[in-house]
Structures are given as structure tokens and as C-alpha cells.
């Protein structure tokens, strides 16, 4: 690379700023190639090339330029890149750092930035008033349908990328004693003072370089601790770099402030680099910081003024103009007008003048600006208009001229004078950036002298300093920062050194900040022609706010939503206070009584990738697999997710489809042997002398007389009487039980048992331990299961006569300990074999090998569902939905009469005892080949076709039964238990209802009972 400075573009100054003129960078915008320098943002580089018009507004598609120079800018949103996976939209051009090969595009315009069809919205603005959306929703039927496609197109900002994001994102967790947000003079002073105590300090700076407005202002004769501000900044950063416990994060914004000083910081790690230089860094990081103390040095945001014609490319904040000049070495215009209500903005006139721009006028709404300013203007020969306002502006894609006139409380008084210009710097004063303080729960108060809201009472361990606290002088910022840093470290238990006594003088290079509010400025134009924008991103005018008040939405939170003020991607950073000022004028109430709308996280948009962090793909959610999982994978299993588990749904053989595999598996279970991996069932070991009493209170049925060696099926209900889990529990001894739960309910049930034991019945001596993962379970069922079982066990007599249904035995298989339960979920003779989990795969392989002569066939969860549906057994979560009692499910036999249990009292409440509740029944369709879609609605008669047809129930499970050779279904039907044999109809979308007959739920009842 040559060290020769590259040729400078038209508006680039020959020196100054944080840019490197020896490192030119080529980039493109809207298909055109431009040159900038290392250190530029996309915005500063475009301005250096004389490009002001970069975007179209949201609603009216008005041409937009750069209002601000940082995160506050409302208008200059662009798309970066065009790859469907890596492009990003709605990026602020003022924050996008330039890198070689950067490709940026305008958005929200069609067919092009210069000629945008949507601009007809601008001509139609009288027909798109505040509340347009709401009025359309509430309007005559059909109007939303009519407007919707039109609004959808207009409302789009950038389109979402269409391919998966290949970038990597990261979360970082940190603790620190002192977290400082913002690295202007106040933040630097605070961080340095806290660091000197040895405390762990994190300093977060939103932009690429620390210093805040130190680099955005002319140095003049300003001093910080005796040094020129930039030299001071360098010295503080050197000192911070020497402290091992200081973490300095640039390109990092604090996005959220939550309870107990927990903050999220959003760090851009590689967006500013060409892809080839990104290395192994993640694209973005989300830092999650728990800080003992927080110092907010978030500065202040300048407001625009609300006047007719205040929205054109070339109209920018006065402070932004100085940022372009001093930070980026860019002169944003040749012929400028400054329009303000405060002394600060005058500096823009002088600084622009001093780099060779012509200043056509300084217009101040006040009669009495700082005398020093008036002298400085006179010395430079700059015309000054006091007590005046701009009544109109001209220029479509760049401002061309303004009309200025004198005004008083009654309106415009003088004859307007036209002044040509290509840049209009506006300033309505500064608003302390209280977003994070407000997020932290702190209250705000209105400060009359500053005409703004400032932090009032903190709710957490947080101190705002500098401009964020309404302290606008350098002296206040630096001394306030030092004291806050010292106090924060001390509060966190660190001894902070006293302020350096040798520190030299700190003073500003400009007169102190004075402002006189001017919320809504008059114009001599007809009212219908005046368009004074309040929210530039959302195209909200002062007139819209007036309309909102007239229509009854005068409360600040209502006005915000009705007009969408402050609701865009910028959340009204520049304009929030202006909206409140305008409302105060309309309502004739002091601003303090209007209040502010709530600040919510994030402070500015952050990427979804940063929020997700590493938790994507396989890391999105942990998956549990059983000991037999590898076998399932190797044998064609199709998996489904149940709770956190992966379970085999069916095992497809080559050439077989899902339904064929299901039917084959179920036939094998009915005719030979089926084997199911039941390891995922929740298993809880329950011990203690009161275990039996405890179970009797938990389950709806009776447990006091269950003998050791026996098992029982039980239902659990909530206190509202609704079934929430079921399962079989075995009595291993008088004080020892083995409980099983549903796969998905295991953790919930254990928590439930603990809750009742600890909070209601702590007097009971009972202990619960989850043993779900300790046992692997294979359940064999079918007519030939006893033959295999007889071969299998070393020391258990498997004969169903002597090892009867609902009993259990402990023994061994080839010396491996096993616990065997004679329970059945299919209606077939079953053995549920539990072995230590490490033997699970061995057990499965042993069963497949020794069961082969009997035709053993693995079946999955779908087969299990079908087999149990044939038998009419419920699945909690399939048949039930938290609104069904045991009685509704036809399981009144499981409700004990003689003792209390959780939820019992609810079963006799008048509503729960109604006999027209939804009740579980079987359904047989008239056409035995027709399988009803699960979830179908049930209606009483085929002719009820109107949309008002009452639904009398719905289908919960539906299959083609290989055993019966016809379709079967379980359904919930109002008063179903009393409607046996009745014909109902099942509604279908776009087809005639299907007739079906209500039956009992056990479809095998007519066949021989195998168990």
C-alpha cells in the first residue's frame, strides 16, 4: 500500500478526524462505486461524496438524508449485502463502518431510490391520517381486506433474508463491580477512578472509538484536567489499558437494563471487517453482565425543531454537522443555515465557517443568544436573525432554500425572506439520554431550565453522570464522572483513591448551554399545507398529534400508539421530547404533567443471532436418548420428540411406507410378540413409612390395601379435579414403591410430589427419588410373550398363571438383575422388563435374538398409540387437555369414596358434576374404511351447515385398526356416556360431514380378552 494520500472527494477536508487518509476504501451504494477511508462510516463516506439522499420514508416514501450522525439517526436505513443468507436490512448508515468491498443498498423504495412509486402516498397524505390503521380495522366490513395488500407493501422496511444465517453468535456471562456505559469525558473519568481502586470494571462504548463528543467538537481552548481533550482521552485510555481488571468493549451498546443490575451488552465483533478478515470471531456477542454498580454516561441526544418543511435531505442536527466535520473530516455543505433555540448550535455555524463553508444565516427563535456568540458571528460576517423561524423550505432531493420570518406568540409577524442554502443545521436543544436509566426503573422529572427530562430517583444501584444526568459542561461531566467512579468502587467494597489533587483545570471551549423551548413553530402557510414532522422515521406530523388529541387520544401513551410516534426502529430517540412538547401545547398543560412514554429494551435494534447465541441447531434444546437408541437408528426408526426424548415412532423396513410399517408392527403385537422401548417412562422411587398414605392422597384411587408384589394403575388430578398424569405404581414393600409416570410428565410429577410433601404434608415421612435414567425398559407383549419370557429369566416363573397380571417380580436374565412388571398398555399379555440402564442395549439385542423364533417385532410409539386405542386406554395429553375429570374419562371407578385426595372436592362442584360435560367415548364410522382426521369437530346432524352449527365435541385419537379391520376413533362428546348407540356426524372442511356411531371405548371388548 502506498502511504500517499488518496485523492480527496469533494467534501473531504484535507486534515482532521479519526479517519486514515492513507487507507482508501472502495465501496458501493445503490450500485454506484465510491471511495472513503478507514475510519469512515457509510454515512460519512457518502456525505464526503456529496450524497445526501439515501432513503425513503416509511409511510409517505419521502426522500430522506442523514438527520443524526450516530445511533439516533431515524432516516438513513440501508441494506448491506445482497446474499440471501448474509444480507442485513434496516442498518443505520451512520453506524455501518466502511470496509473494502462493502455493498450497500437503499430500501423501502420501488423501482428505485430516485423514482419511487410509493411517493403517491406522500401526495395522498391527507387520506392517511393518524390512526389510519385503527380506523381501517374498525371500518365497514371488508375495508381491511381492501387496504391490506396496499398497506403491507407500504409498511415494509427491508425484507428479511431468505436463507439460513451461516454466522456464529455468542453469549458471554460476566460479573463486575462497576459497569460504565459510555466513554465520553464523564464515562472515562468514572471508569478510570473505579479502576484505580482495583475493582473489576467494564467500560462499554457504542462506537468504534472512545471519547464521545471529545472527537465531535472543535477543541478550541477547552481543557480537561489541564490537557487538551483529545490528549486527555488518549492518556486515560493508556491508563485503563494498564489495569488488568478493566475490560474495554468498543462497538458495544448496552441494549437492556433488567432487575438487580443485570444488563445485556450487544457487541459487534466483525460487521466492520471484510469477511476475509473476520477470522474465528463470532459475528455478534451478547454480554450478560451482573454489575454491583452501574455508572450511566450515555450522553444526550439533540432534538430537531418542529417547523413546516423540516424533512428534506440536507436538513440535519447541528451536532451531527460538527461530528461530520471533526470526527470524519467531512464538510456536509457549502452554504449553510443554522436554525436553533439554544446557544450550543451556534458552534456549528462557526466550525463550518472556519473550514470554508459559507454561512447564509443563523436563525434563533430567541431574542437573546449568548453575547459572546453574537460577537463571534459578527467577527465572521455571519448574518443573524433573532426571534425568527423558518416558515417553509424547498428542495426535493436536497434542500435548496428556506423562508425565514419573525414571529411571536400570535404567529408569524414579518414578511418571509427567502435564503438559498444546501445545508440546514437544526437544533431544538439536547435531551439527556435517559433510556437505560428509565429501563432500570428510575423515575424521570422535567427540568424547566433544560427543557427536558432528567433522571430523578434511581431504583437500582445506578448513577447517571454527565449529559445523561443533565450536566452539560465539561467540568460537571469530568468531576461528576470521577466522583461516581470512586463512589461506585467504594460501594462495592473497594478503596478508591481520592481525586488526583494535581489534576489541572477543566473548562469548556464555548459559552454555557442555554435553551428556550420552542415546540411547535408557526408558519404563514395555509393550515392544510403545513407539514411539520415530529417523528421523522414514522412520518408523524404535529397535525397528526393534534388529531389524536381531538379524537380522544391525548394521554401520552395513547397518542404514541395512535400516531405511531416513537415506535420505529429508532424508537423516537431524537423526537420523543418534541412529541411531548407538542402535546403539552395542544393540551395546554405543563410538560411535567404530560409525562413520558415507557422506555423498553433494547436501546437500539440488536440481531436475532445475538439473542439466540449458541442455542441453535443441535444446541437449541438438549435431546435425551435411551440406552437402545443406536439400535433404533440402525434399524430404520423414524423418531419423534416426546418431552425431551427422541423416541422411535415406527421402524420402516426397505420399501415400506409409514402406514404399512405401523400396521405390520401392530399385527405382530397381536399375533406374535411386539417389543417397545419404554425406557422413557418417568420412574420415581418412593420410600418411607408414610409412603402409602402419601400415595393415597396423591392418586384418585385407593392405595391402602395394595400388597407387596402387586401393581396398580393410578390417576392424578389437580386440586381442580382435572386429570394431569397417570401410570402404574408397584408396591415393592410396605414402605417402598416404584411409581411410573408419562414420559413427558416425569419431571412435573416429581415436582408435584415434592411440592405437596414439603408445603402441605411435611409431617409425612416419605422420600422421592427420580430413577428414570437408572432403568432401561423393554416391554414385550403378545400371545407368544409368555414363551419368550419362560426362556428368558434365570429365576422368575413367567407362567401367567403363577405370575399374574398386575404383579411384579425381581430376578435375573443371564445374571443381570431385572425387575419385571406384568402390566399391559395394549390388552395383550405383557412383561415390562427393567434392567440397569447400562444393560439396556444388551437386553434389547438379547430379546431380538431369543425372540426371533417367536416372531418378535419392535414397535414404536405410533404402534403403542394404536394398540392402546384399540383397548380404549387414554393417553394423558392426547385424550386429556387439563379440563377432564376421571369421571369425564369414564374412569369413575378410579375415584375412591372413603378418603380425601388432591382434587377430590372439586369433583362434586356443580360445574364439574354436570352430566352434559365432554365425555370420552368410542366412535365407529358408518364407512369402515374412512379414518377420521384427529381433531375433527363433531356435530349432531348432517344438515347443520351454517357457521353457527354448535360443536358437540371433537375426535382425540383415530386409526385404522388392523385387529378389527376397520377404522376406530376416541372422541370427547357432550354427555357422551348417555348417548351410546347414537349417530353423530364429523364435520370436514370442504366436504360433507361423515356419519359415525357412539360406542364404548374398548374396541377389543367383543374379541377375547387376552390378559
Amino acid at each position: 500500500m502506498s502511504a500517499q494520500p488518496a485523492r480527496l472527494s469533494q467534501n473531504r477536508l484535507s486534515q482532521g478526524g479519526l479517519i486514515d487518509r492513507t487507507q482508501p476504501i472502495t465501496f458501493s451504494f445503490d450500485g454506484k462505486r465510491y471511495q472513503g477511508f478507514a475510519g469512515d462510516t457509510l454515512a460519512s463516506a457518502l456525505l464526503a461524496n456529496g450524497v445526501h439522499h439515501v432513503a425513503r420514508s416509511f409511510k409517505y416514501h419521502r426522500p430522506r438524508g442523514f438527520m443524526g450522525a450516530g445511533p439516533e439517526d431515524p432516516g438513513a436505513l440501508v441494506r448491506i449485502g445482497s446474499d440471501p443468507a448474509t444480507m442485513v436490512v434496516n442498518q443505520r448508515a451512520t453506524e455501518v463502518e466502511l470496509h473494502e468491498g462493502l455493498e450497500a443498498f437503499p430500501q423501502n423504495c420501488w423501482p428505485s431510490l430516485r423514482f419511487d412509486i410509493g411517493v403517491v402516498n406522500d401526495l395522498m397524505h391527507r387520506f392517511l391520517p393518524a390512526g389510519f390503521y385503527y380506523k381501517t380495522f374498525m371500518g365497514p366490513p371488508g375495508s381491511w381486506m381492501f387496504f391490506e395488500p396496499f398497506i403491507r407493501r407500504a409498511a415494509g422496511l427491508g425484507p428479511a433474508p431468505s436463507a439460513p444465517d451461516p454466522a456464529r453468535y455468542e453469549h458471554m456471562n460476566r460479573h463486575c463491580e462497576v459497569l460504565v456505559i459510555g466513554s465520553g469525558p464523564a464515562g472515562l473519568a468514572a471508569a478510570r477512578q473505579a479502576a484505580r481502586s482495583g475493582a473489576r470494571v467494564i467500560l462499554a462504548e457504542e462506537s468504534a472509538a472512545c471519547g464521545g463528543r471529545i472527537f465531535a467538537e472543535a477543541e478550541g481552548d477547552a481543557l480537561i484536567e489541564g490537557l487538551a481533550p483529545r490528549a486527555w482521552c488518549t492518556r486515560v485510555l493508556e491508563e485503563l489499558a494498564d489495569h488488568p481488571d478493566v475490560t474495554l468493549l468498543t462497538r458495544t451498546s448496552a441494549s437492556g437494563y433488567y432487575a438487580q443490575n443485570w444488563l445485556t451488552l450487544f457487541e459487534n465483533c466483525t460487521d466492520h471487517l471484510p469477511p476475509s478478515q473476520a477470522g474465528n470471531l463470532p459475528r455478534h456477542r451478547l454480554w450478560r453482565v451482573r454489575a454491583q454498580q452501574v455508572v450511566l454516561a450515555t450522553g444526550a441526544i439533540e432534538r430537531p425543531l418542529v417547523f413546516n418543511g423540516n424533512d428534506r435531505p440536507g436538513i440535519m442536527l447541528a451536532s451531527a454537522a460538527r461530528t461530520w466535520l471533526h470526527r470524519y473530516g467531512v464538510r456536509p455543505g457549502e452554504n449553510a443555515v443554522i436554525f436553533a433555540n439554544n446557544d450550543d448550535a451556534w458552534r456549528s455555524a462557526f466550525d463550518l465557517h472556519d473550514v470554508g463553508a459559507r454561512i447564509a444565516a443563523i436563525i434563533d427563535t430567541r431574542p437573546d443568544p449568548a453575547p459572546a456568540h453574537r460577537e463571534a458571528a459578527q467577527a465572521r460576517g455571519i448574518p443573524v436573525r433573532l426571534g425568527a423561524t423558518i416558515v417553509a423550505t424547498r428542495g426535493r432531493r436536497r434542500i435548496r432554500s428556506i423562508d425565514v420570518a419573525a414571529f411571536d406568540a400570535g404567529g408569524v409577524t414579518g414578511k418571509p425572506e427567502r435564503i438559498a442554502c444546501d445545508l440546514l443545521c437544526v437544533s431544538g436543544g439536547w435531551s439527556p439520554n435517559v433510556a437505560l436509566f428509565s429501563q432500570s426503573g428510575g423515575s424521570l422529572r422535567h427540568d424547566e431550565a433544560l427543557a427536558s427530562f432528567v433522571p430523578d430517583e434511581a431504583r437500582q444501584e445506578v448513577v447517571p453522570v454527565g449529559a445523561c444526568a443533565g450536566a452539560f459542561s465539561l467540568e460537571e461531566a469530568v468531576s461528576g464522572g470521577r466522583e461516581a467512579g470512586r463512589a461506585a468502587a467504594q460501594a462495592a467494597g473497594f478503596v478508591a483513591s481520592a481525586t488526583d489533587p494535581a489534576a489541572g483545570e477543566t473548562r469548556d471551549g464555548a459559552p454555557p448551554y442555554r435553551v428556550a423551548p420552542a415546540w411547535e413553530l408557526p408558519s404563514n402557510r395555509p393550515k392544510s399545507r403545513i407539514r411539520a414532522f415530529v417523528d421523522h422515521q414514522n412520518d408523524v406530523t404535529a397535525k397528526d398529534l393534534h388529531l389524536a388529541v381531538r379524537e380522544g387520544y391525548g394521554a401520552v401513551e395513547h397518542a404514541k400508539r395512535y400516531t405511531t410516534t416513537g415506535m420505529g426502529t429508532d424508537q423516537g430517540k431524537t423526537v420523543g421530547v418534541n412529541a411531548i412538547g407538542v402535546l403539552s401545547g395542544v393540551l395546554d398543560k405543563p410538560i411535567g404533567e404530560i409525562g413520558v412514554t415507557t422506555f423498553r429494551p433494547p436501546w437500539k435494534p440488536i440481531s436475532f443471532g445475538a439473542v439466540a447465541g449458541q442455542h441453535v441447531g443441535a444446541l437449541f434444546h438438549p435431546r435425551r436418548t435411551t440406552a437402545m437408541h443406536d439400535w433404533h437408528v440402525a434399524n430404520g426408526a423414524v423418531f419423534e420428540i416426546v418431552g425431551d426424548w427422541l423416541r422411535a415412532r415406527v421402524y420402516r423396513q426397505p420399501g415400506e411406507d409409514f402406514e404399512a410399517a405401523l400396521q405390520r408392527e401392530c399385527r405382530a403385537a397381536r399375533n406374535a410378540i411386539g417389543v417397545l422401548d419404554a425406557s422413557t417412562l418417568g420412574k420415581i422411587d418412593i420410600r418411607g413409612k408414610d409412603a402409602r398414605v402419601f400415595l393415597n392422597r396423591i392418586y384418585s384411587n385407593a392405595w391402602m390395601k395394595l400388597e407387596p408384589g402387586r401393581c396398580r394403575y393410578g390417576l392424578m388430578t389437580n386440586e381442580d379435579g382435572m386429570v394431569f398424569d397417570d401410570g402404574v405404581t408397584a408396591c415393592l414393600g410396605d414402605d417402598h414403591f416404584h411409581m411410573t409416570t408419562t414420559t413427558g410428565g416425569a419431571a412435573r410429577v416429581l415436582a408435584w410430589l415434592e411440592e405437596y410433601h414439603q408445603t402441605e404434608w411435611p409431617d409425612l415421612e416419605v422420600f422421592m427419588t427420580s430413577v428414570t435414567e437408572q432403568w432401561a425398559v423393554a416391554s414385550i407383549c403378545g400371545p407368544r410373550a409368555p414363551e419368550l419370557a419362560a426362556d428368558l429369566f434365570d429365576d422368575i416363573d413367567a407362567d401367567p398363571e403363577r405370575f399374574p397380571f398386575m404383579s411384579h417380580a425381581s430376578g435375573h436374565i443371564d445374571g443381570v438383575p431385572a425387575r419385571v412388571f406384568r402390566v399391559s398398555f395394549t390388552g395383550e399379555i405383557s412383561y415390562e422388563i427393567n434392567v440397569p440402564a447400562s444393560y439396556g442395549l444388551w437386553l434389547w439385542r438379547t430379546l431380538m435374538e431369543r425372540g426371533a423364533p417367536y416372531g418378535i417385532t419392535p414397535y414404536g410409539t405410533e404402534g403403542m398409540h394404536l394398540l392402546r386405542a384399540e383397548k380404549g386406554f387414554i393417553i394423558v395429553g392426547q385424550e386429556t387437555d387439563g379440563t377432564l375429570t376421571p369421571v369425564d374419562l369414564g374412569m369413575g371407578w378410579a375415584v375412591k369414596k372413603n378418603a380425601d385426595f388432591i382434587g377430590k372436592r372439586s369433583l362434586t362442584r356443580s360445574d364439574t358434576a354436570r352430566d352434559d360435560r365432554l365425555q370420552l367415548v368410542g366412535l365407529l364410522t358408518a364407512d369402515p374404511a374412512f379414518v377420521i382426521p384427529e381433531g375433527s369437530q363433531i356435530i349432531a346432524s348432517a344438515r347443520e351447515q351454517s357457521p353457527r352449527t354448535p360443536m358437540i365435541g371433537h375426535v382425540t385419537s383415530s386409526y385404522f385398526s388392523p385387529t378389527l379391520g376397520r377404522s376406530i376413533a376416541l372422541a370427547l362428546v357432550a354427555g357422551g356416556h348417555g348417548r351410546m348407540g347414537e349417530r353423530i356426524h364429523v364435520a370436514r372442511a370442504g366436504a360433507d360431514p361423515v356419519p359415525a356411531t357412539i360406542t364404548g371405548t374398548d374396541f377389543l371388548a367383543g374379541l377375547k380378552d387376552a390378559s
Binding site: A259, Q260, G441, Q758, T759, D900, R905
Partner: protein
């Protein structure tokens, strides 16, 4: 995201805890002896307090013990945590009572929280 002081384990991140709603609601001893309305009040009705609120938490990903906490629902500040069976360390008015607002006692709350600092 809070940090909550488990009375058994000490201060831990909120992610380890589960919420259990209003505390100090005793299950009726003889459910069959009370009216439908009284039972429904126990099962369904809870106080919606703005201010100091006694509530239940469980240290699910820790010791699995249930305990009670006093939290200010308006500020999310935890004033105290205490074990099941103990009376709330500050007076709270909730449950089946008249629903009168809770008297905030800022000084006593600060004492209980250890002066607001660990």
C-alpha cells in the same frame, strides 16, 4: 433476571428457581365440610398485590426445596426469603383476608435485606 437467596443454598440465579404463586394459602383440612364457593376460593382465587407480596419459590435446579419470599411486585425487589412454616418476617395482607393494601415498611424492609447490600 433476578438473583434469589435460597434459605438453604444461598444466592443463586433466577434460572435455577421455579415460581409457585401466592404463599400462606393453607389447604382446607376438611374439604368435604366447606361450600363449593369456599373450595373454589381456595383452588382458584389469588391476591393480585401491588407492593409487598408473600410468594412461594422452589429451588428446582438446586436443593429442590420449597421456600417463601417477600417480594415487592412493583419493583421486583426481594425483601426476604424464609423457610416453609415460618411466619412472614413483615406483615403482609393477602390470602383470604379483606384484600386491604399492604403497608410498606421501607425501613424494616431494608433491615431484612441486610441494608440493601451483601
Amino acid at each position: 433476571m433476578f438473583r434469589i437467596r435460597c434459605p438453604y443454598c444461598g444466592e443463586r440465579d433466577q434460572i435455577e428457581f421455579g415460581y409457585g404463586g401466592e404463599a400462606h394459602i393453607a389447604r382446607p383440612r376438611e374439604p368435604e365440610a366447606i361450600s363449593d364457593a369456599q373450595w373454589a376460593d381456595y383452588v382458584f382465587m389469588r391476591t393480585n398485590t401491588k407492593g409487598l407480596f408473600a410468594e412461594r419459590w422452589v429451588h428446582s435446579a438446586g436443593c429442590r426445596r420449597w421456600f417463601n419470599a417477600l417480594r415487592d411486585t412493583a419493583t421486583d425487589r426481594f425483601v426476604a426469603t424464609y423457610v416453609i412454616g415460618e411466619a412472614p418476617p413483615l406483615p403482609v395482607t393477602q390470602g383470604a383476608d379483606d384484600g386491604a393494601p399492604v403497608e410498606e415498611d421501607a425501613e424494616a424492609a431494608a433491615d431484612l435485606a441486610g441494608g440493601g447490600r451483601p
